[in-house]
């Protein structure tokens, strides 16, 4: 038996400890991203949820002008934090449509009255069907849809104030 072999278990344990420490201080990115980025927006047609605002269908996109597709819900707290940023985007001339996940007309009307209404159209997705078709895994999420109907970019989570210029640029660059 070679003498130095006695140190092998110790080295292995140290390595394991380092691995655990690394995992603790630099956790892996667990964000689930849509595999549809770069591809065409899937076909869907959703009824309206609030009076006076149209529902949302795939046909609303691919009209030559890039748009934002915001996946949100009235019961989602980060969506409230995101609302001022969406209003800023609208002021910058970005057109925004939305899919309301598992929501009711009254709750959406209340949400829009409280937090502002940046949306051109809101589709009513009662069973998350369009959310699943988009490869989206939560609320809020925002997709940049190019003028040709392709998904250019997926933003997971609420849009922060410092992320607004980047999104405006992404919409400008999407053709």
């Amino acid at each position: 038996m070679k003498r130095w072999l006695i140190w092998v278990p110790f080295a292995v344990a140290l390595g394991l400890l380092a691995l655990v420490g690394w995992g603790l201080y630099k956790p892996a990115d667990r964000t689930v991203r849509s595999a549809l980025v770069g591809q065409r927006l899937p076909q869907f047609a959703l009824p309206p949820i609030v009076p006076g605002k149209p529902g949302l269908a795939t046909a609303a996109f691919a009209k030559g002008k890039p748009r934002l597709l915001n996946v949100f819900a009235s019961w989602c707290i980060p969506c409230i934090a995101e609302a001022p940023q969406l209003l800023k985007l609208k002021q910058a001339g970005v057109e925004i449509d939305a899919v309301a996940i598992r929501d009711t007309p009254a709750a959406i009307a209340d949400f829009l009255a409280r937090n502002g209404d940046p949306y051109a159209a809101i589709g009513d997705d009662k069973t998350s069907s369009v959310q699943l078709a988009l490869g989206s895994s939560g609320v809020p999420e925002t997709f940049v849809i190019g003028g040709d109907g392709r998904i250019v970019l997926q933003h997971v989570g609420d849009i922060r104030a410092e992320e607004v210029p980047g999104l405006i640029a992404a919409v400008r660059n999407a053709r």
Partner: protein
């Protein structure tokens, strides 16, 4: 006294859930009438990952989105779609990540090959130690 009362009040506070106020989708928690189709759906649901609660299958999870995914699986099975077509539909949207049955590719190759390498290593190690014993 007041502080203690406030602390005690915390015990009865209802937890805040990030859940909607709509009931689950019709087929989220209701089995299909045809037992053969329900069995097909159940087998598939056990091998699909819930994308919210990432360590669970959609069959195990109580998340609303898992319920919606179960409803999607059951609706499509009832409409006559094959389980593999549904899996492919979900993989096209969420990547291989959504399936608990990873296909063999450059990324997943170590997953499939590592056990074979470890087994070969074990055989080699056992042979070496048996030989040593025989010599003695």
């Amino acid at each position: 006294m007041k502080r203690l009362l406030l602390l005690l009040l915390m015990l009865v506070a209802a937890p805040a859930f990030a859940d909607s106020n709509l009931p689950p989708a019709p087929l989220a928690n209701v089995q299909l009438k045809d037992p053969a189709k329900e069995a097909q759906a159940q087998t598939l649901m056990l091998t699909l990952r819930c994308v919210v609660c990432q360590g669970q299958s959609i069959a195990d999870s109580n998340a609303e989105m898992a319920g919606d995914m179960r409803a999607l699986v059951r609706t499509r099975i009832a409409a006559g779609q094959s389980p593999e077509a549904i899996r492919a539909w979900l993989i096209a949207r969420y990547g291989d990540y959504v399936s608990y049955d990873p296909p063999l590719s450059a990324v997943t190759a170590p997953l499939w090959i590592a056990p074979l390498i470890l087994l070969a290593l074990g055989v080699w190690f056992a042979r070496a130690s048996f030989k040593r014993r025989a010599k003695r």
